[in-house]
Chain length 405, copies 2
Amino acid sequence: MSHGIPAALSRFFAFPEAGVSREPESWPRGFLAAGVAAGIKASGGKDVMVLANRGPRFEAAGVYTSNRFAAAPVQWSRQALSDGQARLIVANSGGANACTGPEGFADTHATAEHAAAEAGVSAADVAVASTGLIGERLPLERLLAGVDGALGAAREDSVLEAAEAIMTTDSVPKRAEVPLPGGARIVGIAKGAGMLAPALATMLVFITTDAELSGGELDAALVRACAVSFDHADADGCMSTNDTVLLASSGAAGPVDTHAFTEALTALCQDLAYQLIDDAEGARHTAAVTVAGAASLADARETARAICRSNLVKTAIFGEDPNWGRILSAAGTSSAAFAPERVSVSINGVEVCRGGGLGEDRSLVDLSAREVEIVVDLNEGEASATILTSDLTHDYVHENSAYSS
Amino acid sequence: MSHGIPAALSRFFAFPEAGVSREPESWPRGFLAAGVAAGIKASGGKDVMVLANRGPRFEAAGVYTSNRFAAAPVQWSRQALSDGQARLIVANSGGANACTGPEGFADTHATAEHAAAEAGVSAADVAVASTGLIGERLPLERLLAGVDGALGAAREDSVLEAAEAIMTTDSVPKRAEVPLPGGARIVGIAKGAGMLAPALATMLVFITTDAELSGGELDAALVRACAVSFDHADADGCMSTNDTVLLASSGAAGPVDTHAFTEALTALCQDLAYQLIDDAEGARHTAAVTVAGAASLADARETARAICRSNLVKTAIFGEDPNWGRILSAAGTSSAAFAPERVSVSINGVEVCRGGGLGEDRSLVDLSAREVEIVVDLNEGEASATILTSDLTHDYVHENSAYSS
């Protein structure tokens, strides 16, 4: 497979032979974008992105945070995309515009109106996304000037600079593409390194395609893809106020098979989710925690999430300590159907716990590689789920205690 | 108040003027104990404790972990105390005897039988508790030799050494006493510094009293006291397999008023819970997170727990950063009834968020003191709950990644 996912992890994700690659330069036909530095980020880096769909079609779908303190741009975009149409995405890093009250919502509204007027579209077709510190107003003048600059600079071969403009604590820009039968493509960019937990992770993800699909088809494909990608990624258990995944279609390449599209989109989203977790703040290990043999998918997910959210499991992975007792004690908080005396645990292929008790010698486990594979078999049924997580390191504590973000 | 709880925290806990003190030397009348070094801990420190009730009465009550991988000693003690009677408690540090299968349960059984024979009581009146690494068998010979030594050394003025013998990663032994009207006393010891989360915290707590109460009265008092003390303490969100709180009564001081007893016991448990959180692994701050104005107690608890379990909140406290956006984003994951635009947040008395948006300038907040007070007002009803937690520090990561525990 070309997408670079280690075999040990990719088999859990059941990637199709989709040929995901990570260095797209140009957008699918119909899309133009730019990323510029507008002075919002203290670092002086790129912080405003525009992504325009020139059609001929303008179908769009979105998935958003379920946090009840959803940020102003989330509230705006949810409404703007409710008709299944969008022509322009405006995003900024350097400020989340969350918990900013009616004034913050007015800022988002003004941003959409301004961008719409410049681009000659309706504000109702402009999605807005923001990321950065919660609880601070955005510097609106700088943002609007950045939007002007980005609209003027928008072009086809700008995937990398658009990905750079949405980065916060990310150490690398994240992008991926996957080809579709018949010459169409899907290209996506993502950001997110902390406050990264399901439903969704703290992330902004913008995905474009020139495949022609109806709004309903796009929406269904996106919901399905998110459920087994971003929703199965959990860096630190913390849910953001700003999570946004947008999928826009220009239709410029004509119709495609819906099933093939959904498969390809899922592969792309899984790859981006892997990139997000692999770049999680301070992470030294990326772990795939699979709960197998569950009576239901919900049981498998609940148990895997409990393990992924245990700070003791996460620090043990950092310490390269195959401390399976911490895995079981986390699993033991779940309400899933299982009998403790039938549960087994394997770490990197060594079955250290068998029948709820001692298995192979834990000293046989080698945790020195970056990728870690934990499999908990409940021996209760046929369902399984895999959640990706990262370890809890000194660098995580440093990044999140030394800076407001 | 004599119990040393800062006023800012104690008012949330509504301590009675109970006069809890932290350095009891002797047990209530009827109790003898000892702590000895039996070579179970690698450090060579004390690791076996016996606590004997010489009567005239032998009522006892217990509260245990709800983890489904309950350790062998928890399974044993739950059964042994099901008749409301116990005459001897045997505890060891240096090994949890959890996830050790039928062999581990046989080890606990053998420990109880051995201690019972030595002490001249029935094994059904012996409670057993263990703490330490999960998934390893105990060195049974050393443990039994330690039990013999401790039974031979048991005496009245041994509260400190008993507290020392149950320590694992604790930096200080934990003990407390509270007087009762009429001359009776309650004296308790506790251990726990990590894997410390409600229902219960990872803790062993042994409480003795010479007050005379029925088994049912003891049980009701203990359940009530735990619900507003250990169950409101959350260091790292991780639930142990070995949590045990035992309360034993010798009746040697005669009857007491049940209500007064429950109040005093609650104060004692709250003080011990404070000591546990204050000594949580690597902690630099102890924070009381109060959710007020909730529609129900369950809503208040759920929201406070969500905040206490957010690694981003906990690292912000470590960094002394009044990052209220992280508090709201954690609160926003709860299912409690509230309207985001009516929620306010105060940190150490400064209302940094008002009506779901910006309040006082966050730079006014001083987080340099060890104790931190966070109040989230949902403005929805009259219920409130306070959860105690600690910050997430480099030392927590170090302690939990560098050692198996």
